[in-house]
């Protein structure tokens, strides 16, 4: 006879070892992604046909740089959760699944940090 509640037993036993937190964060980043994606598209449109110097100046300006950082952060987090769900759905071999989870994390963090590095470099002109 256990004194643990069914909820406590169920926690940490899903295929992703976590419960509704992922669902919530997926929605949270999805909500953030809508205005950020619209802003990103507008930034790209404003840069169409401009040369490198103009692109450098616009991407490095404070407002654009902050919006781009938020876009990259929210999108890569959303990407990581989304790809994890795809892996959970189609990969059933335990080891292969763990390896893919790791690669997914490495990939999304690498994309996020590389992009953030570029934005900071454009802003501070190092």
């Amino acid at each position: 006879m256990t004194m643990r509640t069914p909820l406590a037993r169920v926690r940490g036993f899903g295929s992703a070892r976590s419960g509704t937190e992922h669902f919530w964060r997926q929605r949270l980043t999805a909500v953030a992604n809508v205005p950020l994606t619209i802003a990103f598209v507008l930034i790209v449109v404003s840069l169409l046909g401009r040369n490198h110097a103009a692109a450098q100046q616009i991407l490095g300006s404070p407002l654009v740089a902050i919006v781009m950082l938020l876009f990259i952060g929210s999108v890569t987090y959303h990407m990581r959760i989304g790809m994890q769900v795809i892996i959970e759905d189609y990969v059933h071999d335990e080891i292969r699944k763990l390896v893919l989870f790791m690669l997914n994390t490495f990939f999304t963090i690498a994309v996020a940090l590389a992009s953030a590095y570029a934005i900071f470099k454009l802003s501070f002109g190092v």
């Binding site: 999805a30 994606t37 169409l48 490198h52 991407l59 989304g82 992009s115 470099k121 454009l122």
Partner: protein
């Protein structure tokens, strides 16, 4: 109870190949495919930002890709996938809140999703054709 028994040969729940393809089902699949495509498409965004940060030569290489035919096809696909996934996300917010499940409403939602994403993509590329071509 040391030995585990082989799983009983029970009928499985019907899967994709059993159902007649429906628009809502196809759009659910497209939502996942566009999401997976955008996952890798983000590499292009990272490349673009890094090229801008690296300097004129690196930016020229990126522009060479972006204005090549292959690059244009890829970027056109990225544009559509991004807008389609975004509008699909809004469709899911409506469903998450418990609205739009009626037979006509859900059909309308997926049609609006498809028409909207195609129209916006064409509109953006018209902008590109007018201001971006050099």
């Amino acid at each position: 109870m040391a030995e585990t028994k082989a799983p009983a040969q029970r009928p499985l729940s019907p899967h994709l190949q059993i159902y007649r393809p429906m628009l809502t089902m196809m759009m659910s699949i497209v939502h996942r495919i566009t999401g997976a495509a955008l996952y890798f498409g983000t590499l292009i965004v990272a490349w673009w930002l890094l090229a801008a940060a690296a300097g004129q030569n690196a930016y020229g290489v990126f522009e060479g890709f972006a204005t090549s035919w292959v690059g244009r096809v890829v970027l056109f696909g990225y544009t559509w996938a991004l807008l389609h996934h975004m509008l699909g996300g809004i469709r899911h917010f409506v469903w998450d809140l418990g609205y739009g499940f009626g037979p006509e409403e859900r059909e309308w939602l997926v049609r609006a999703n498809l028409v909207g994403s195609i129209a916006l993509t064409v509109l953006l590329w018209l902008c590109f054709a007018m201001f971006g071509m050099r």
